[in-house]
């Protein structure tokens, strides 16, 4: 099925050569009968074709027979030439993607080097459930002042019958305090409860290292990996250049342009 109708010019040209289908010929002849301009166009084409067909037939000015020297003089392209061409193209594509990776992907992954350093230090704060009961230790091993620690309700504050610093640092009290700050809403009345040390582990979100984010394994490129990629990149570039030179040499030698 023809989706595009041939132009009137194409139809006239094909009509001259008898290349229309019977239906197309009948349609065109109907149009020709009704359209003098179309008939004039057809006649002009017919005359042109007549002139062309009358063009003198030319003879070869000399013999074009071959000599052994003609055939031997030009070395042919080697049989592996098509494979060399494909190989050069593939090497070039590989080099392109490796260069792209080195200059786009690598800087992004290098930025992630700093992130695991922070998570690695987190488990160091509390290494065991026992540490949850111990006085809170900062990385610099400084104990915060007592007045910075949250004061539970009912225990008083300041000088009005407040708890003595000694009582506040007892394991039970500290555990209860941690339980409040970590998991219970502040508005709830404080219930003094001496939680056994072993119970503090599940309630204290910061107790134990099983709830802490695990250190991220080292999958990002290290310096050694980067060096390996660089060597591969250089090797592929050299290979691509060498193959391109070979391709050019064989084509030049065979005389192909």
């Amino acid at each position: 099925m023809n989706f595009l109708k041939p132009s009137p010019l194409e139809q006239l040209s094909a009509y001259l050569d008898g290349k229309l289908t019977p239906r197309q010929r009948a349609d065109l002849e109907t149009q020709l009968a009704a359209n003098p301009q179309l008939r004039a166009d057809l006649e002009a084409l017919r005359r042109t074709r007549t002139v062309l067909r009358a063009a003198p037939r030319l003879r070869a000015p000399r013999n074009f027979t071959l000599t052994p020297q003609m055939v031997r003089a030009r070395p042919q392209l080697p049989t592996f030439y098509p494979y060399l061409r494909w190989s050069t193209a593939l090497t070039g594509i590989l080099v392109f993607f490796i260069l792209l990776g080195n200059h786009l992907v690598l800087p992004l992954t290098t930025a992630r080097n700093a992130a695991p350093m922070l998570t690695e230090s987190a488990p160091m704060l509390l290494e065991s459930p026992a540490d949850a009961a111990a006085p809170l230790r900062l990385p610099t091993d400084e104990t915060p002042p007592a007045d910075l620690l949250p004061v539970p309700e009912g225990m008083g504050a300041g000088g009005g019958g407040g708890t003595a610093p000694d009582e506040f640092t007892s394991p039970e009290m500290l555990t209860a305090t941690i339980a409040i700050t970590a998991s219970e809403p502040i508005s709830q009345p404080f219930a003094v409860a001496a939680l056994p040390p072993e119970d503090t582990a599940p309630s204290a979100k910061i107790a134990g290292d099983q709830n802490l984010p695990q250190p991220i394994p080292e999958t990002f490129p290290t310096e050694q990996n980067t060096q390996d990629w660089r060597i591969l990149e250089i090797a592929l570039v050299l290979l691509a250049v060498f193959q391109a030179i070979l391709l050019w040499y064989y084509r030049w030698r065979s005389g192909a342009h």
Binding site: T48, V51, L52, R53, R57, A60, L66, M70, R74, H257
Partner: protein
């Protein structure tokens, strides 16, 4: 001439067998090359290249019309030569007439039986046709040379040029239209027989 046998022998490396094929087809090849290139020297170069290429590529001939296979190689050689000339334009060395027109060598256009008047008429016609062909693009020129000048069928031209049939029809129609306009400009220069209405039997 047993063409299949000659082709088989030539494929085995028999240069003499191939040269017999060259002698059989060189006029046809030169005519096509001349119509595409527009001058005899370039056409001769293209034809020589084409025959060398045909001999070395005989192994790629898979049967069918040897003439069409050879003409495809000749046409491609002409395309290559035209591209080369486009990159490095050359100046023709042939002497020019007073009107700055090249003196065409009559050697390859001579017909022993014709009168001088007939020869002059033929040269005039040839000059007019070639001038108009030279104004066409190589693709259009190739189609017109094959179909209208050499007499190939649409299907044969499609095989030689490795183009779909629709493309051949379209290019031929447009080439004829351009030649019609070009030849109208030199109509008074054509032999009388072509300026009369009706067809002239060659």
């Amino acid at each position: 001439m047993n063409e299949p046998q000659l082709i088989a022998d030539a494929t085995q490396g028999d240069l003499d067998a191939f040269n017999r094929l060259v002698l059989a087809y060189q006029d046809l090849a030169f005519h096509q090359a001349y119509r595409m290139m527009g001058d005899p020297d370039s056409a001769a170069d293209a034809v020589q290249e084409a025959f060398i290429s045909a001999y070395t590529k005989l192994s790629t001939y898979r049967g069918g019309s040897f003439k069409a296979w050879l003409m495809r190689i000749v046409t491609n050689a002409c395309y290559d030569e035209l591209r080369r000339r486009k990159r490095r334009p050359t100046t023709p060395l042939e002497p020019l007439t007073n009107d700055d027109e090249e003196i065409e060598s009559p050697r390859w256009m001579t017909d022993p039986g014709e009168t001088p008047e007939d020869r002059a008429e033929r040269m005039q016609l040839n000059h007019a046709i070639q001038e108009c062909l030279n104004d066409l693009s190589p693709d259009f020129r190739a189609v017109v040379a094959l179909v209208d000048v050499q007499g190939y069928d649409y299907e044969e031209a499609s095989g030689i040029l490795s183009a779909p049939l629709g493309t051949i029809k379209s290019r031929l129609a447009r080439a004829r239209a351009r030649l019609r306009d070009c030849l109208q400009g030199v109509w008074e220069l054509l032999p009388d027989a072509f300026r009369l209405s009706g067809e002239r039997v060659p």
